[in-house]
């Protein structure tokens, strides 16, 4: 079928072909944050892996190491947003209170307002009356507030704006961007392209054709198509769309150029991508696709952050031995049965933890085997949730304190 699902259009895999046995590379987060030639860090990954928290933690750490940072978040948890002082969705960076500015850095944060960003683009591109006409069109309202790629596209648009602003005023020297919680991590790379191809697409041309287009389009095929479209979505929607397209027509070129610039910005060496994942098969699979995609688009990948990894003490007691010991625990005397319960519970916990650790390590190691040159930072799961600057600082410390060589990555 020609109309194959878009999301997984077949792409060749990219890999080393045979496994190498070099030690896994470690992502040096502090070197990345201190590198003044990097002015954009984009955090991406599938939904629910802790992208927002990771990007906020990176931004805070960079600021406290002396960078002038602005972080663009998409949908932070309420308490985290509160502690960063960005409850108001006003599309403007606001200073984050209570950061340690002794190294000369600063931190501003903002939450993306997708519709507003879109409106501003329209207003900047069109004459006031034309802009008003577009903003009032029902089709525009729907596209700007619910089109599946709008959020992704507007995040990239906002990044472009922040970058231009930073270069002009020098108020910021590092932009950290969180990406929208897409179904797939790749969506946001495709969004600008998708939106601009929509705005510039065949169908849009077709809608305009009767008004001004060449007569050859007025073929039987075209009549058939218009009839079918009218049948399916109704004449009124078609009218709205035509009005929208007619008003938008002059902006098409501008939109395509902007999408192109965004793409180039993402390829620039000033940019670094940090792929975020959790030690779960789905998240790591998405991360693998993303890493390979960045490669094929020639986009600069800094490395992978694996969040919420389980850890276990290196005490030499295997899961098997722990469970065998539980079997041997038979209450000998009445007075120490409490210790027996505690001992059995601790041993079972230990076995469970080791199984989890082993499974996650295998998953992470497999990723490393397929992508041997991707520097990786592994973050242990914290036993408490993160919703304030102290929590972010703790994550930042863990990110900065990665061992020089990863000893826990089994090879081969």
């Amino acid at each position: 079928m020609s109309a194959a699902p878009r999301a997984r259009r077949a792409r060749a895999r990219v890999g080393p072909l045979v496994a190498t046995h070099d030690p896994a590379r470690v992502l040096d987060v502090d070197a990345l944050l201190d590198d003044r030639s990097r002015s954009i860090i984009v955090c991406c990954g599938s939904g629910g892996v802790g992208k927002t928290t990771t990007s906020a933690a990176l931004a805070l750490r960079a600021a406290e190491r002396g960078r002038k940072v602005v972080v663009l978040t998409i949908d932070p948890a309420r308490r985290l947003a509160q502690s960063m002082g960005i409850e108001a969705l006003d599309n403007t960076p606001r200073p984050v209170p209570d950061i340690d500015a002794t190294a000369g850095g600063s931190l501003d944060a903002m939450m993306l307002d997708m519709k507003r960003t879109f409106d501003e683009v329209v207003q900047s591109q069109a004459s006031p009356e034309k802009a008003a006409q577009i903003l009032a069109n029902p089709f525009y309202v729907a596209v700007s507030s619910s089109f599946a790629g709008t959020q992704e596209y507007m995040a990239m648009e906002k990044l472009g704006q922040l970058d231009a602003e930073a270069r002009r005023t020098g108020a910021h020297d590092l932009i950290v961007v969180d990406t929208p919680p897409s179904r797939s991590a790749l969506d946001f790379l495709d969004a600008p392209e998708r939106l601009s191809s929509f705005l510039d697409g065949k169908f849009m041309r077709l809608l305009l054709a009767p008004a001004r287009g060449p007569a050859r389009l007025m073929t039987a095929g075209f009549g058939m198509v218009t009839n079918a479209v009218t049948k399916i979505i109704g004449a009124q929607v078609l009218q709205d769309m035509k009005a929208f397209v007619a008003a938008f027509d002059t902006l098409f070129g501008g939109f395509r150029a902007r999408a192109q610039r965004t793409f180039e910005l993402l390829q620039d060496r000033r940019t670094a991508f940090v792929v975020v994942a959790a030690p779960e098969p789905d998240a790591l699979r998405e991360a693998a696709y993303f890493v390979e995609r960045l490669r094929s688009e020639d986009m600069p990948l800094a490395g992978l952050v694996v969040n919420r990894a389980s850890s276990a003490p290196a005490d030499g007691l295997t899961a098997h031995a722990a469970l065998a010991a539980v079997e041997r625990l038979r209450p000998a005397g009445r007075d120490d049965s409490e210790e027996h319960d505690l001992a059995a519970g601790l041993l079972r916990l230990h076995a469970d933890r080791l199984t989890l650790v082993e499974r996650e390590r295998t998953l992470t190691a497999r990723f490393a085997t397929s992508h041997p040159d991707v520097p990786t930072a592994v973050l242990p799961a914290l036993s408490t949730d993160v919703h304030d600057l102290d929590g972010l600082r703790r994550i930042g410390d863990l990110l900065g304190a990665q061992p020089a060589a990863r000893r826990d990555a089994p090879r081969g």
Partner: protein, 357 residues
């Protein structure tokens, strides 16, 4: 070729694990429901729960259709079968007894072409639509249309009519739906289109779908884990669903930690009042080579566990206050799905014994 390349998975007797307690099996929480919609925050395991629920329903002798709509091929990955096409395929049949699970990956392009074919017999015009980019336009850009197509196909599977000759009818349908943040919008197709299509076939299609979604034949389950953000998102999701008149089913709490330590032990660990030497001698008695490092490690794990459990209990109380039935699934340390389906059958059993199926 299909049969050779891919034979359906064959499940454990009665489909789910270990000692099916059929006499003691509780009554279903949602007996008259045909359509189970499963949503949840990203990363909480809604695809896993959907699959386990489909198995659990089939173990009641039902013919079940498991649908996915996000193009991720999550079902294929969970069951370790080749990618699913736009076609209902037998996924799991029981080793004994009745009840089967079929699977369908719905993509909007195929759904639109099928819809056009079923209702308009477009033939050549259908191809022309594709050539002019209309199919792509309608399925990726036109707001709301994509969702209407996806839910419309689910509706069609739930209400088979004469246009789809010879199609199978299902006792139950499990829809692995978009995440909580998008679920109300996804199911509330009517409102989504309202600003656009006020009349026309798309509008009436949306109306029919809405009638099913708001009826007693539908419930929407939300999957969460016992952490702050997912629980908050679940609470927000329930409020939003109720606000739009959509029927909330159960909250499925996934990945619940093992409960190997009782309250007193956890309190002692948190207070640091565990008698190390007695613990050490008990362990030695069980043949463990006890070192200071080992004791410290075990106690440290215990403390972390106790902290997490406290947090979980706090979140659990919030979940209980949501006013909907709560079902809990344990975290399986070895993972779920892929080549080993044991974990899925185990989760299905847990759903059965708690009445979700």
């Amino acid at each position: 070729m299909w049969v050779a390349a891919h034979s359906a998975r064959s499940g454990a007797p009665g489909l789910y694990a270990r000692g099916v307690p059929s006499p003691s099996r509780p009554p279903e929480l949602f007996p008259g429901v045909q359509l189970h919609v499963v949503s949840g925050k990203g990363g909480t395991g809604k695809s896993t729960v959907s699959a386990a629920l489909a198995l659990a329903l089939a173990s009641r002798g039902k013919t079940v259709l498991l649908c996915e709509v996000e193009g991720r091929q999550g079902v294929a990955q969970l069951f370790d079968v080749p990618p699913l096409p736009y076609e209902e395929r037998l996924l799991v049949r029981p080793q004994a007894g009745s009840g089967e699970v079929y699977a369908l990956a719905i993509d909007p392009e195929s759904a639109l072409l099928e819809y056009l074919d079923m209702y308009y017999r477009l033939g050549r015009a259908g191809k022309a639509l594709d050539r002019f980019g209309v199919i792509e336009f309608a399925t990726t850009i036109a707001p709301g249309v994509r969702d209407v197509l996806l839910t419309g196909k689910v509706y069609e599977a739930a209400n088979r009519n004469s246009r789809n000759k010879g199609a199978r009818t299902y006792d139950a349908i499990v829809l692995d739906a978009p995440p909580t943040g998008r679920i109300a919008q996804f199911l509330n197709v009517n409102d989504e289109l309202a600003g656009l299509a006020k009349v026309g076939p798309i509008k009436s299609q949306a109306d029919t779908v809405t009638t099913l979604l708001r009826s007693e034949r539908t419930v929407i389950h939300l999957v969460t884990v016992l952490e702050e953000m997912p629980v908050q998102e679940t609470a927000d999701g329930i409020e939003e669903l109720r606000g739009t008149g959509l029927p909330v089913g159960a909250v499925v709490v996934n990945q619940v930690r093992p409960r190997d330590l009782d309250h007193d032990d956890r309190a002692a660990l948190l207070a640091g009042s565990v008698d190390r030497s007695r613990l050490g001698s008990v362990l030695t008695g069980a043949g463990v080579e006890v070192t200071d490092e080992l004791l410290a490690g075990l106690l440290d794990e215990g403390v972390q566990h106790a902290e997490r459990r406290d947090l979980e209990d706090g979140q659990r109380a919030l979940v209980r206050d949501l006013g909907v039935p709560v079902v809990e699934l344990t975290r399986l340390a070895s993972g779920v799905g892929g080549q080993d389906l044991g974990g899925l059958y185990e989760l299905a059993e847990q759903l059965c014994t708690q009445g979700l199926a």
